[in-house]
Amino acid sequence: MDAFTTHTGTAAPLRRSNVDTDQIIPAEYLKRITRTGFEDGLFSAWRKNEPDFVLNQPQYADASILVAGPDFGTGSSREHAVWALLDGGFRAVISPRFGDIFRNNSTKAGLLTVLLPQADVEALWQAIEAGPALQVTVDLQARQVRYGSTSIAFEVDDYTRWRLLEGLDDVGLTERHLADVEAFEATRPSWLPKVQPALPA
């Protein structure tokens, strides 16, 4: 995955709560077996059916930071939601609360999810709407969101931050601890189920 250190760009105000992953990318786009090329599915129903949907407005067409209401990314575990946001040009999403699996997925794929209190999100929405060209910086190094003269600290655990800053993938990290995995496996009770060999019909 690509490393994330700091990113500056324009932002889109998505004034909606409970944006589930079915809205981020509907099921019909999940049939693909590649890991890229999901931009056409991104918010496709809203882009198609709602002319004034925020991403249909030209001033937000190039936004690379999405600022959403609470409970963004709830529902289905589809990592395609993260891939669609990345393919659609987003590097970071800011929200007061994220769905757990979405947040996990984002850290695996290099999309930064930033938790900010609702009041800060509201202020940011207003600032963007007052000037859509506003440059917003999401700085993972300094753990800050900055725009104009405003600077807001956000929390991210050290380990996730390190992985994102370095662009490290988890499988390689876990493989360093293979001896621990083998030691654990030696202690597993023998009655735990195995899928194979297949049972007689």
């Binding site: 004034r15 909606r16 709560s17 409970n18 589930d20 079915d22 809205q23 509907p26 099921a27 019909e28 999940l30 049939k31 693909r32 077996i33 590649t34 890991r35 129903a45 209401g69 609470p70 409970d71 709830t74 529902g75 289905s76 575990s77 589809r78 990592e79 993260v82 609360r97 994220f98 769905g99 757990d100 699996i101 996990n104 997925n105 695996k108 609702q118 655990d157 050290d158 380990y159 993938d169 988890d170 499988v171 876990t174 493989e175 601890h177 621990d180 995995v181 654990f184 496996e185 597993r188 009770p189 023998s190 009655w191 735990l192 189920p193 195995k194 899928v195 194979q196 049972l199 019909a201």
Partner: protein, 474 residues
């Protein structure tokens, strides 16, 4: 220190823990389906990795499968390619796959328990958020994304942070016609779709203990709709009775050893939950959703809410756009809402008991003339059992459609979809915009409400069915 059930299962699977890093958790069972796995297998191939434990991995075809004509090639080329990718990957990496036509095929969360692969105290993952279903057995089971699927395939482990603990206690007795689905819809309406975020929910209390395994699965299934990643219930005699004799359940001395361990799997006296919620079972009536997220539900006797009365601004906007999408007017009694389609199925309510409940209400009656009813068993096993009991004939006589096993209209990746503007009463778990087909409108209901609704053509509780005529001669 006293521990919760979830903490016990978690602690028993920690392979490695180090300050400032996530724990490395061992995974006992990995379930795989065609939608969230192809990119993970590609990742393995690209890195030259293998599947560490093919014998702890089970794959099935469920999301894309047509429910008619399942032995012909899938008509949609993109769906077909996805299913074929799974077949190729399973063969290449040595994984047991239950393809269409196989006796074990079905929705991933229905076949695990059915085969006895889901057992108390295990860690179970799947690239699917409703993996929480398996928590009904006292397993720690949760959904993961595709990158994590790849990680589990390669290492049989997952980096995890210790979840917070929530208890939802449901005491008392459920009234007739009120089911597990109504309990969980009420819980979600109470705590909201983000209420369980970061938590594992343990369901407890006398009303939960009285439930069958099927009903417990319905409750744990929808933990994710309350924002929690996992839900679980302590194993008891009901759990053991369900498991005994299943194909993959331990036998003989192994069974005794397993049972001895399983009986330790309960929350200790004095264990601390980060959050507790109490529900009085006797106060519950059938619940239905009116909006576009599962938290937007009400007792069936209520009316469509008026957004203007909702104080929270976010909630108010959400309600306004939900009503616009759903084509509903504030103040309309929920019982007056007419539906085009009734869907009985999914990993929430596609098990044998769900079909029995619906069949009992439909027996000798006919589905409303303007309503179609789709009955989709959760697995081939459920289908065969239902046919052995003659339930298929009850559904067919009532004018419902009896289909093959799969996810079907729960998410419409196969041809079973709502048309734009169509409205369904559905026993599935998500009423999101477009979930059952573009522009489709979904009301989540229990199997009993689904059957009652099919008979009248509008949202109906089973207790309302006093004047539906029986079919002449039946």
């Amino acid at each position: 220190m006293p521990k919760t059930l979830a903490e016990k299962v978690y602690d028993a699977h920690v392979v490695r823990s180090a300050e400032g890093e996530p724990d490395l958790l061992y995974i006992d069972l990995h379930l795989v389906h065609e939608v969230t796995s192809p990119q993970a297998f590609d990742g393995l191939r690209a890195a030259g990795r293998t599947v560490r434990h093919p014998e702890l991995t089970m794959a099935t075809e469920d999301h894309n499968v047509p429910t008619l004509d399942i032995l012909s090639p899938i008509a949609d080329p993109v769906s077909r390619a996805q299913v074929e990718a799974l077949r190729k990957n399973a063969a290449e990496f040595g994984i047991r796959l239950a393809p269409m036509g196989d006796r074990d095929q079905g929705i991933v969360h229905v076949i695990g328990p059915q085969l006895g692969l889901t057992q108390p105290g295990m860690t179970i993952v799947c690239g699917d958020s409703h993996t929480s279903t398996h928590g009904a057995f006292g397993a720690l089971a949760f959904g993961i994304g595709t990158s994590e699927v790849e990680h589990v395939l390669a290492t049989q482990t997952l980096p995890q942070y210790r979840p917070r603990q929530m208890a939802v206690t449901v005491d008392g007795e459920l009234s007739p016609g009120v089911s597990a689905k109504d309990v969980i819809l009420a819980v979600i309406a109470e705590i909201g779709t983000g209420g369980g975020q970061g938590h594992v929910i343990e369901y407890r209390g006398s009303a939960i203990e009285a439930l069958s395994m099927e009903a417990r699965m319905t409750i744990c299934n929808m933990s994710i709709e309350a924002g929690a990643r996992a839900g679980l219930i302590a194993p008891d005699q009901t759990t053991l009775d369900f498991l005994a004799g299943r194909p993959h359940a331990p036998q003989g001395a192994d069974w005794d050893a397993a049972v001895e361990y399983w009986t330790t799997l309960r929350t200790d006296e004095g264990a601390v939950f980060d959050r507790e919620v109490h529900i009085d079972a006797a106060s519950l009536t059938p619940y239905v959703t009116w909006g576009t997220n599962p938290g937007q539900g009400l007792p069936i006797g209520a009316s469509v809410p008026d957004p203007a009365q909702i104080p929270d601004e976010n909630e108010r906007h959400a309600a306004e756009s939900a009503l616009a999408y759903m084509g509903l007017t504030a103040g309309t009694p929920l019982r007056e809402i007419e539906v085009d389609t009734v869907f009985l199925g999914s990993c929430t309510n596609g098990r044998i008991e769900d079909l029995r409940v619906a069949a009992a209400l439909l027996k000798g009656k006919h589905v409303d003339a303007n309503t179609r009813m789709l009955v989709v068993p959760g697995s081939v096993g459920v289908k065969q059992q239902a046919e052995a009991e003659g339930l298929d004939q009850v559904f067919l006589d009532a004018g419902a459609e009896w289909r093959g096993a799969g996810c079907s209209m729960c998410l419409g990746m196969n041809p079973d979809q709502l048309q734009p503007g169509e409205r369904s009463a559905s026993t599935s778990n998500r009423n999101f915009q477009g979930r059952q087909g573009k522009g489709g409108r979904t009301h989540l209901v229990s199997p009993a409400v689904a059957a009652a609704t099919a008979l009248t053509g509008r949202l109906t509780a089973p207790a309302d069915l006093t004047d539906v005529p029986a079919i002449a001669g039946a």
